[in-house]
Symmetry: C2
Subunit: 248 residues, 2 copies
């Protein structure tokens, strides 16, 4: 986390780091113009949210960790923004939960897929899926439907940060447990999710990893206890209220 | 307004048009990565605002029109996003108020300045300032301080859409009357402005033009009456409340 020449104590460190990484992502062909606009939308919601992880969201992140640990085949879906912003954090979470990493883009081009795979490998990822693209998610346009047969297609639990609504819905209709990270509680993807995580990926990923490490030795029953009684509506309602009123 | 193949009746026409123009702006070298992120931030605030011009904002737009008509030397400051999104609307407003157009960028490069000047000329602008850059706004870094001596430097009234806080403040300190269009009522530039216009530029510019045409034959006294009693705080408070609560 020290790729900019600003001390971590700087009040705008996080924001400057984010900006630097996103611009770096554009230079590397990882982040698309639409990805930059999405980043800006997220910044506005995060600003209104007070740039913090609310208690109900922290709970959702713990539940997400339990789902990933409990899964037969968990996959972390990676797009251009997430790859640019939190490459190390993605790899760490994949390691902590035994999840696969799969690059999956809204505006898919082979060039961007490979740029992102290379970027994750540079950051230490061993295996990155998403280049085979030998299966399709039912109900989506050709390019947007492409996934790996032994990746997202086979997964029972998928973490999709910053996903578009159509694909979030299509994945849910395949019966997968979806964990969605999105800063807008009113958008369709978190509303479709089994676990909506209304948080900045920069805070969410390390926190899910912390919970996963904390739960590493938990039994299946104990993980089920963490998951039981989780109400996605509570997170959506509380975060919308925080955004609207500025309170908790 | 028909540069995309979608009927104007389409429910998402405005949003698709915006997206198309911004992407076109990127291709032409007009819109910067930071401009795309700013666009996304604006989209989020506009979404929470209900994508409409509130009554207090319509009043601010009428006051802005009166200021432009009353000015000795009004200038419309043009950045990459505005040039990409509303080139025709900028030119029409300049004509309706006798204002100059001046390209003025936060991330200034000669290449982008010229790309934007060319873009505005393609859309029918005769004179576009911003290439001479023979004066400086006091109190800003070298590149960000550059303005034309016979443009923004000489102006008494400046319309700055989507301006950054430092420059908005520096312009205000030069004693200029600043009209700022920005969708975030909490950001520093509208808070510094004589007339904060919390609206999407796509709605704001045509509406200021409508008011300017309506006031075209007004006397100086009548224009002063429009301006008198305008309270910028009311706009900021009402728009923040609308964003927070979803109401008017």
């Amino acid at each position: 986390m020290s790729d900019i020449e600003v001390p971590e104590s700087h009040p705008r460190y996080q924001s400057l780091l984010t900006r630097h990484r996103i611009e770096d992502g554009v230079e590397k062909g990882i982040t698309s113009p639409q990805g930059l606009i999405a980043q800006g939308r997220g910044e506005a919601f995060d600003y209104l949210l007070g740039e913090r992880t609310l208690p109900s969201v922290d709970r959702a992140e713990r539940v997400a960790a339990a789902h990933l640990l409990r899964a037969r085949h968990p996959v972390l879906s990676v797009n251009g923004n997430v790859a640019a912003l939190v490459p190390d954090e993605l790899i760490t979470l994949a390691e902590a939960t035994g999840a696969d990493l799969e690059v999956n883009l809204f505006n898919r081009t082979e060039e961007r897929i490979h740029a992102i795979v290379d970027h994750l490998r540079e950051h230490g990822a061993c295996e990155v899926k998403g280049t085979t693209a030998d299966e399709r998610i039912p109900g989506l346009d050709h390019e947007r439907a492409k996934v790996d047969a032994d990746g997202i297609y086979d997964a029972d639990v998928v973490l999709v940060p910053l996903e578009d609504g159509d694909r979030a819905q299509a994945l849910a209709e395949m019966g997968k447990t979806e964990l969605v990270i999105d800063l807008n509680p009113l958008s369709r993807s978190p509303q479709t999710a089994a676990v909506p995580i209304i948080d900045n990926v920069i805070r969410a990923l390390p926190n899910i990893t912390t919970h996963a490490r904390d739960l590493a030795d938990a039994s299946s029953d104990q993980l089920d206890d963490v998951i039981a009684g989780f109400d996605p509506e509570t997170v959506l309602t509380e975060t919308e209220r925080a955004i609207r009123t500025g309170g908790d």
